[in-house]
């Protein structure tokens, strides 16, 4: 694509075999542990996320197995306390160790500087530090698990969390530490976007992935400190009983919820915006069409980030929050659906009359569209004050947030992994199994969570160990769904891993993408590009036929 990239050597070396790539550039464990290369750090995050995903997934399967029956005697092999711990650990591992770092830290680290045509992020050493802070936080969390686990739910609500036994403080500090890791990553990305764009790349020439990650980073920087200090307060509350959140000592437990959700509602956008980022890349590429309404999509990312700060009270409708406040929060919640809707419509419009290729990444992207839309729409039900009084703390909420977090972010993440895999590892995976895995996942997902919508609207509360017999068929369906999804995920992982045994056969631009990361070798050389790339054309410009690009190449 020499007409995107004017640099004297572009393409010159590509035909004469591959150059030494970033994976082979240095050898030995130490070269990995001390690396400041954003690509290598991205890779390390990636494997950490995969490992944590397996751990969190095992807890999820255990929760589902427990719920196969609803009337456990005293000697059921998982007792009530253990069950509480399982769902807590599932939540904490998935939220803090998997979803939050998944797209930004793993894929973002890898792709963002490439997309900007930069050599690295703005602060490579800080990037390494974030990774090690993540590992420290991870170690603390795992230690807490080994020390006897935590049973507060991922939300750490007081007063339960300030009185229950178990290493809650350690877990809270682990979340604090992980928060700092994500803050540093956020700072790094913001500075990178501001300062290291390739010459000729204005703000509106950035790929939409970058816009979304940029918005995510803004939220990370502005919201994470709030939950950080709140968790510190919780820890101190447990250690010295200072009483800020304890009504019997003059504090206010609902204040904890305010502080927690001031972070955690924006945090759900920390989780979904990166998912949207990936989808905004995959859809134009596999529709071979310009992104419809580029600016609207770009601005909607920022709008989501900002409006997301105004709605946190919708998690607290029945908490004792004042009704006036609930009304205001309910109203504002409807606003946040608008930018999300804009995105969905723009993706659909991009696909419309496009030249759609249903390769594996696109299968994941289309799954995302379906699942995320269901998740987003049910969010509206929950955001309406009157319906939420009924649905709050039922399986309806559980299904809602799984549709957005797993159906949204994890689906997009898997799509992104399949999309950038050739770039990251230089190998093409086997399309057949990859697609089967994606379909299995989609089917399993709906079996697993659609049934939870039904249960929830019939009043099945979340986080309960025993339940009424009328819910059992739905629970069984749900558990079976979890097995299907697990099968799909293992197939996907196995298929990807199998490709690593092949020689590095991936072309530089297997999907005919237009963004800069496809303009360098797969896998990239250590410094990404031979020469500073200069951008002459807007992203997603498919007007020039690809074959012409090939010829010039």
């Amino acid at each position: 694509m020499a007409d995107i990239l004017t640099s004297p050597h572009a393409g010159a070396d590509v035909h004469h075999g591959k150059e030494i790539d970033y994976i082979e550039a240095k050898k030995g464990i130490w070269s990995w542990m001390s690396t400041v290369d954003h690509k290598r750090l991205g890779l390390m995050y990636f494997w950490a996320v995969v490992a944590n995903f397996i751990v969190g997934g095992i807890f999820a399967l255990l929760v589902r197995i427990t719920l196969l029956t609803g009337n456990h005697g005293d000697n059921y092999f998982i007792n009530a306390e253990t069950y509480n711990r399982f769902f807590t650990l599932h939540g904490i591992v998935m939220v803090f160790l998997v979803i939050i770092p998944s797209v930004p830290a793993a894929l973002g680290n890898f792709v963002l500087p490439l997309m900007l045509g930069a050599k690295d992020v703005a602060f490579p050493r800080m990037n390494l530090a974030s990774f090690w802070i993540y590992i420290v936080g991870w170690t603390m969390a795992i230690t807490a698990i080994c020390l006897g686990m935590v049973d507060t739910g991922w939300t750490f609500y007081t007063p339960y969390s300030s009185t229950t036994n178990g290493p809650v403080s350690l877990m809270a500090l682990a979340a604090f530490t992980l928060g700092f890791s994500s803050i540093f990553t956020g700072i790094n990305f913001i500075a990178t976007v501001h300062k290291l764009r390739a010459p000729g790349m204005g703000w509106f020439d950035m790929p939409l992935f970058v816009w979304s990650i940029y918005s995510t980073s803004l939220i990370q920087v502005l919201a994470t400190p709030v939950v950080g200090i709140t968790l510190v307060l919780l820890t101190i509350e447990r250690a010295w009983g200072i009483g800020v959140f304890d009504a019997s000592k003059g504090g206010d437990p609902v204040l904890f919820q305010h502080f927690f959700w001031f972070y955690s509602h924006p945090a759900v956008y920390i989780m979904i915006l990166p998912g949207m980022a990936i989808i905004s890349e995959i859809i134009p590429t596999f529709s071979a069409k310009t992104m419809f309404g580029y600016k609207a999509v770009a601005y909607s990312s920022v709008a989501i980030a900002l409006i997301g700060f105004l709605v946190w009270g919708h998690h607290m409708f029945p908490s004792g929050q004042s009704q006036l406040a609930s009304l205001v929060f309910s109203f504002l919640t409807f606003l946040v659906a608008i930018p999300s809707g804009i995105k969905v419509f723009n993706w659909l419009a991009t696909m419309w009359r496009g030249n759609i290729a249903m390769d594996t990444p696109m299968v994941w992207a289309v799954s995302f569209l379906l699942l995320f839309t269901i998740g987003g729409l049910t969010g509206i039900f929950l955001g309406s004050l009157s319906t939420d009084i009924h649905l709050h703390d039922t399986y309806f909420v559980v299904a809602h947030f799984h549709y957005v977090m797993m159906g949204g972010t994890i689906t997009a993440f898997l799509g992104g992994v399949h999309y950038w895999w050739p770039k990251m590892f230089g190998r093409m995976y086997n399309e057949g199994p990859a697609k089967i895995a994606a379909y299995l996942y989609f089917i399993g997902f709906n079996v697993l969570f659609l049934s939870q919508f039904v249960m929830g609207s019939n009043g099945m509360p979340r986080r309960y160990y025993n339940y009424l017999p009328e819910f059992q068929p739905w629970h069984i369906a749900s558990t079976v769904g979890s097995w299907i999804i697990a099968a799909g995920l293992f197939l996907a992982l196995g298929n990807l891993l199998a490709s690593l045994r092949k020689p590095k056969d991936a072309p530089d631009n297997p999907w005919k993408g237009t963004t800069l990361e496809w303009q360098t070798q797969s896998p990239p050389i250590e410094h990404n590009f031979h020469d500073q790339p200069v951008l002459h054309r807007a992203p997603y410009d498919y007007r020039t036929p690809v074959s012409v690009d090939r010829e010039i190449h």
Binding site: I190, H194, V221, L255
Partner: protein, 201 residues
């Protein structure tokens, strides 16, 4: 070079933003609790020594001045002056911590630690809860702030070492500038802490 300098500055500002929010949440919590326990907070704040507080304020403001002069000198390649200003800044920070130490030990002695250690008032006293919450915030906020001062001292000492080695000059003094920004933020937070805790309560 300029690019790198700007990027570092932007990064530093973003980091400072997280610091402000970190403290800000405590301010919000303090404000809300003050609205809830106005009498108690008023009573409790009389235990704070406003003379010592004012003294520490002056010390910090002065140290901010010497810090900015250190940056200024570094940007003009005046190594000697930079060193002197940095030393004064560090001495001010230490003076601040020493005063804080005396304040703390006095409070602890009086039984003003919050929560379960609050013994100044009998737990049956209707004012006890609000007082204890006040000291909960007092120790959290000044403690976190003191920790930042302490971290500042460490960083300033490192900076001093590098300056003595002659690492910084008009062409490159980014670290001095960044540490300066950090130091001013710590000062800025105290500018709010002092009147709210010591003067208004």
């Amino acid at each position: 070079m300029q690019q790198q300098f700007d990027a570092s500055k932007l990064g530093m500002w973003l980091f400072l933003a997280t610091e402000i929010l970190l403290f800000g949440v405590l301010f919000v919590g303090f404000g809300l609790s003050q609205g809830r326990w106005p009498e108690e907070f008023k009573q409790a704040h009389h235990h704070l020594d406003r003379v010592l507080g004012a003294f520490n304020t002056v010390v910090l403001l002065f140290s901010s001045f010497t810090m900015v002069m250190a940056v200024n000198s570094a940007s003009r390649s005046k190594r000697k002056a930079t060193i002197n200003y940095l030393i004064v800044t560090i001495l001010c920070a230490i003076a601040f911590l020493v005063v804080k130490y005396f304040e703390y030990s006095h409070k602890i002695h009086e039984g003003l630690l919050p929560g379960q250690y609050f013994t100044y008032l009998a737990s049956t006293d209707p004012m006890a809860k609000g007082n204890s919450v006040f000291f909960g915030f007092y120790f959290m906020m000044t403690g976190l702030h003191g920790f930042h001062i302490f971290a500042g001292v460490v960083v300033l000492c490192l900076l001093l070492k590098e300056t003595i080695k002659g690492k910084y000059n008009a062409a490159y003094y980014t670290p001095v500038d960044l540490v300066g920004l950090y130091w001013h933020i710590v000062d800025l937070i105290w500018i709010y802490l002092f009147p709210l805790l010591y003067l208004i309560g």
